[in-house]
């Protein structure tokens, strides 16, 4: 097991290096750079070339590409992500609060999604091919089809018209004022969680259907066990594994993938930051964000695999 864990951790290095090279190269292909973007933002695009080159030199943009890349990589190796090219402040400072917001939103959305997905999926499987099953399936496919940003707009609209109230628009960290924090984040979490529960519901249903056909379930039924007990004690344990896998993979994507929902609810999360960073041609910040999201994804993947072996003793890794 220990050697397996080590092997998996080492295998992440080339993938992350690939991600780093890819985003580094792609960003340099994007037309314009941060200096031009700043002058454009100030409304004066006709700056003297000398002045702009001076600015570039200050940011290290005049260095050859391989040198810029090695500087960045050695920085990462020392856990130093450098300064944002746009604001000039340390990237860790820029990201910190937004990471907290995005992570909290991702956790809340996935908790809500699981609360919805697991019971619904079981219900649909037990009542297969009845109207209950159809209703659950339509509900979950509708969840996949509804854009979460539109659902967000409808929620805000509904609350505005019915309750004359809109969720707070300024982010308060949970540790400052939990109520204020939840009052803001519960809505985007619901909008995203509904869509994301659909994935889980479908997986739960099909996994449950498969397990319910197993011999040991028939044995349990034959000896007259309660259906409720069979479902919770016997079937769920085996059926929940694929559901947890697919939901944690989706969870990993939620961290950086909520660009649009954040826009609707005016949340300054990682997604919004990413869009701004690209628009500003802020190479260092964009790179750091991509690396953060990719690392998070790889680690979630890794933990899922480890958890698999831990939950299911039949699986052993070498």
């Amino acid at each position: 097991m220990a050697s397996y864990i080590l092997k998996r951790l080492l295998a992440m290095v080339p993938t992350l290096l690939g991600v780093a090279v890819l985003i580094f190269v792609l960003l340099r292909v994007v037309p314009g750079d941060v200096v031009e973007a700043r002058y454009l933002a100030q409304g004066s695009q006709f700056q003297s070339q000398d002045l702009m080159n001076q600015e570039r030199a200050k940011l290290g943009l005049d260095q050859p590409l391989w040198k810029q890349f090695t500087t960045w990589m050695t920085g990462i190796a020392r856990l130093d992500f450098g300064l944002s090219m746009w604001t000039g402040s340390p990237i860790t400072e820029e990201i910190k609060l937004r990471f907290a917001l995005s992570l909290q939103l991702a956790i809340m959305a996935s908790l809500l999604a699981q609360l919805l997905a697991i019971p619904l999926g079981i219900l649909a499987a037990v009542k297969q091919d009845t109207w209950v099953d159809y209703a659950v399936r339509v509900f979950s496919i509708a969840g996949l089809a509804t854009p979460s940003f539109w659902l967000g707009i409808l929620m805000i609209l509904f609350m505005l018209i019915v309750f004359k109230w809109v969720p707070p628009m300024v982010f308060t960290p949970f540790w400052v004022d939990p109520w204020q924090n939840l009052a803001q984040l519960i809505w985007p979490a619901l909008a995203v969680g509904y869509r994301y529960s659909a994935v889980g519901t479908r997986m739960m249903r099909s996994a449950m259907l498969e397990v319910l056909r197993e011999d040991y379930i028939r044995t349990a039924r034959a000896k007259g066990l309660w259906l409720k007990l069979i479902l919770t004690r016997h079937a769920l344990k085996n059926a929940i594994l694929p559901v947890l896998t697919i939901m944690s993979l989706e969870f990993a994507f939620l961290l950086g993938g909520l660009v649009v929902t954040e826009q609707v609810f005016n949340l300054n999360g990682l997604g919004m930051l990413f869009v701004q960073a690209i628009a500003h041609r802020d190479y260092t910040l964009t790179q750091a964000l991509v690396m953060l999201v990719a690392t998070f994804f790889l680690f979630v993947n890794f933990f899922v695999d480890i958890a698999y072996a831990w939950i299911d003793p039949r699986i052993r890794y070498r």
Partner: protein
């Protein structure tokens, strides 16, 4: 299908598939009612796109400042937007954008992805390992982040959006198709083709690809709905299709949110169009998967 046929009539009705395409349609509707609803929604959307020029009561690009933000009425069934453009007209024309981007992106993504997947499985060894590592790298990007990077490189507009949406689909399709192609590679007919001295491209395209068509079709239809959704998302944040083109995501942008309280029709109807369109493709895709993939078929 009835689980337990009781009468002779019921037995004969559920037995052999009907002949002819009409019979096939009837069978599909009977066995997969949800899929039939999906197909109906898709047909409706295609019809909308095809006849937008005839049906639409107004010009989708023409501003009418006298009728700005007017509520649904006899003249404007679904109301007008902040420029006085008819919402119904723009929804009708928007189906063209959605279908074009959706079909374009899923075709492009699925064909590139499946080609890479099949070739990677066919060559095996180091090539396979190398391709898989590259796919792992692409996989580590969330879909929307990869799409946003591609848009940043290429610029906005419908054509570039197609490429941006296809990009994240390539590794996803390649992975699924590769795993199917791995078992196809071991088939005797592939050995036979190799023994006959056919070149690699011919074996890949003519012998292997047709035999992994089922997973490719499943992936492509699943992508279609997702691509339409992604286009709407990109257009909504202003990084997809640009004004004044009629696109559903774009219609929800800006004024639709600002004036949501006074002019809710601007926010409600285009979103409804997106949801129904994607819903149709998802329902149809699900049924198609059930029909084509015996492993996932529910007895």
């Amino acid at each position: 299908m009835a689980a337990n046929p009781q009468t002779v009539d019921e037995l004969t009705r559920t037995s052999a598939p009907r002949a002819g395409w009409l019979g096939a349609v009837v069978d599909f509707v009977r066995c997969r009612p949800l899929g039939a609803i999906g197909a109906l929604l898709i047909l409706f959307m295609v019809a909308m796109a095809a006849t937008a020029g005839l049906l639409a009561p107004y010009n989708p690009l023409e501003n009418d400042y006298a009728a700005m933000l007017s509520a649904p009425s006899a003249e404007h069934w679904l109301g007008t937007d902040a420029y006085g453009r008819d919402v119904l007209t723009r929804i009708l024309y928007g189906s063209r954008t959605a279908l074009m981007v959706g079909l374009g992106a899923s075709l492009l993504g699925a064909s590139f992805g499946s080609l890479i997947g099949v070739a990677s499985a066919y060559f095996g060894g180091r090539i396979d390992l190398f391709v898989q590592r590259i796919m792992d790298v692409l996989f580590a990007f969330p879909v929307i982040i990869l799409a946003l990077v591609v848009v940043a490189v290429l610029g906005t507009g419908a054509g570039n959006v197609i490429l941006a949406i296809a990009a994240p689909m390539v590794p996803r399709c390649a992975r699924v198709v590769r795993s199917s192609a791995l078992s196809v590679r071991e088939m005797p007919y592939v050995d036979a083709a190799r023994a006959s001295g056919f070149g690699h491209p011919r074996i890949i395209l003519r012998h292997m690809l047709p035999n992994v068509m089922a997973p490719i079709l499943i992936m492509a239809t699943a992508f279609l709905g997702e691509a339409i959704l992604l286009e709407a998302s990109l257009s909504f944040i202003g990084l997809g299709v640009q004004e004044p083109t009629a696109a559903w995501g774009l219609m929800l942008r800006g004024a639709a949110v600002e004036f949501a309280e006074t002019a809710p029709w601007m926010a409600i109807f285009p979103g409804l169009a997106i949801s129904l369109g994607v819903f149709g493709f998802n329902l149809f895709g699900d049924s198609l998967r059930d029909a084509l993939d015996p492993r996932l078929r529910t007895q």
